[in-house]
Amino acid sequence: MTGSPTHRPAVRRAAGSFAMHLAVYILALCTVAPFLWMILTSFKDLGDIFVYPPKWLPAGLHPENYVRAFQAAPFGRFYLNSLAVALTVTAGQLVTCSMAAFAFARLRFRGRDLLFYIFLGTMMIPYHVTMIPSFMILHRLGWIDTYKALIVPGLASAFGTFLLRQFFLSIPKDLEDSAYIDGCSRFGVLWRIILPLSKPALATLAIFTFMGVFNDFIWALVVINSEEMRTVQLGLAVFRDRYVTEWDLLMAGSVTATLPILMVFFFAQKYFIKGITLSGLKE
């Protein structure tokens, strides 16, 4: 801060703001470019894809790629399956993870740290070696080829518990202490004080869980056999054969699989954007 006239910092601030906007927009454009290309390609004829120099706009519009992609399999059903499974798992995880995270962040009990480290540790085992034993357990339960197989194992999550625990830890305890003094139960504290303050974290967990389940391939692959039980990702696999990729159809299918999640994200943002909730602590 020099002792310059008052308009100088204003100009500088405006220039800085302009530069920042420009930088953010360019970065965003670069990031989203492959996605835009996916959308444009989904309308292209195959011959338009491998051309030099690369052409962004399709030579002719081919919306029939979407029609053909949807005719290749009952995708409507697949969407419904994916949606039902992802929503249920998301709702379930929000409940189980916030409860478990509350215990880890706020309660003292014997073996707490050990248990927490075990939770953490299980995330460090790659899934490919636990997949078969998990499958065998599901089989014992008689759940193969059912929604239960897709939903129940996802109802608890070390990731989600860890995420919420970290967030709960950063919430000052003063508020709760006064609530306890007022005779509030622990469930009451979690429900009335911690969760409302944790909307950003809950929204984050929700979007990650939803997306993770929606995009899961390998677990759905092994537990599902019937066509009517398939999820979108299993459906899309038909366009990528061992030897050939049906570019046009894969892109059309992927766009339809991706856009709904992005829309959810677009509208759910308000839960973690400042300025709207202002910092939650003031509520």
Binding site: T31, F50, V129, P133, Q166, S170, L236
Partner: protein
């Protein structure tokens, strides 16, 4: 750190009731977790001392021989090195970039919602579709990268078929695909920092950078810890993008640990050996996580 430190005045109930209610709070998670996570994890640990082709009922106990074979296999060391290179390339880039974007988007930016959605888009695209697009972008003849390099009379670079560039290509795509996750986490973390702290600091005459280092960084530390641990786990376990983008090639230059585990399990049907490798991976990650926990505890915030 004072505001977040616990207030010892009102330490409420006694230990045993806390233990009991902890059980209540944990039980839904524990039931699922034990059944579908802990039991399979334990089972695969047992398997790491066996030879098993997964089809037959017979499993023969082989003691530690899976582990000793692993340390003798030169490919294992190569794969370990590749994994470390990938991790060292991805984690700092990913965290730095996602924090920068989150902080930028925490300010007044016109069209913020759209920009944030754009940054998040790569996370949502299924790995297979993303890899198909990136293969095209890396195509030496028709791809976007060489097209841009051509403007500067550079290239063409043989991105995916050259052992010198394939790992770089993989890291670039890896960061692109996953930094949106960390951006959202950082955004949520920033959201949790009360505005009043910044206001107070501003009144005290603290500059932008001072505020960033003295308020944002320390108060974000639970989030940062989480992101660091998860990013390490994620990059040590990278598989999907490798499988679809480079398939471990060329000449094994992008073959990483989980790829190695995968191929021994599902290409050669050696589940015992694959499990042993998985536990070595676990040991390394656990060690790294412990260091992070220790560093975390001593520097910033106690987990209690």
């Amino acid at each position: 750190m004072k505001p977040v430190a616990e207030n010892k005045k009102h330490r409420v109930p006694i230990l045993s009731t806390q233990g009991f209610s902890a059980l209540k709070f944990l039980s839904p998670t524990l039931v699922i977790f034990i059944t579908f996570v802990l039991v399979p994890v334990f089972f695969s640990f047992i398997l790491s001392f066996h030879k098993w082709n997964m089809f037959s009922a017979a499993r023969s106990f082989v003691g530690l021989s899976n582990y000793s074979r692993l340390f003798r296999d030169p490919e294992f060391w190569q794969v370990l090195k590749n994994t470390l290179v990938y991790t060292l390339g991805t984690v700092p880039l990913n965290m730095g970039f996602s924090l920068a974007v989150a902080v930028l988007l925490d300010r007044r930016i016109f069209g913020k919602k759209w920009v944030r959605t754009a940054f998040f888009a790569p996370v949502v695209i299924s790995p297979v579709a993303a890899a198909v697009i990136w293969r095209w972008m890396y195509d030496p003849n028709f791809g976007l990268f060489n097209y841009f390099l051509g403007w500067f009379r550079l290239g063409p670079v043989n991105w995916l078929n050259d052992p010198r560039s394939a790992m770089f290509a993989l890291i670039l795509m890896g960061v692109w695909k996953s930094f949106g996750v960390n951006m959202v986490l950082f955004s949520a973390g920033l959201q949790g920092i009360p505005e009043s702290y910044y206001e107070a600091a501003e009144i005290d005459g603290a500059g932008k950078w001072t505020r960033f280092w003295r308020i944002t960084v320390p108060l974000l530390s639970p989030t940062t810890f989480f992101i660091l641990v998860m990013s390490m786990i994620g990059s040590f376990q990278v598989f999907d993008t490798v499988w679809v983008l480079t398939s471990g090639g060329p000449l094994g230059s992008t073959k990483v640990m989980v790829f190695y585990i995968y191929e021994h399990a599902f290409k050669f049907f050696e589940m015992g050996y694959a499990s042993a490798v998985a536990y070595v991976l676990f040991a390394m990650l656990a060690f790294l996580a412990l260091i992070q926990v220790k560093a975390m505890k001593s520097s910033v915030l106690d987990a209690t």
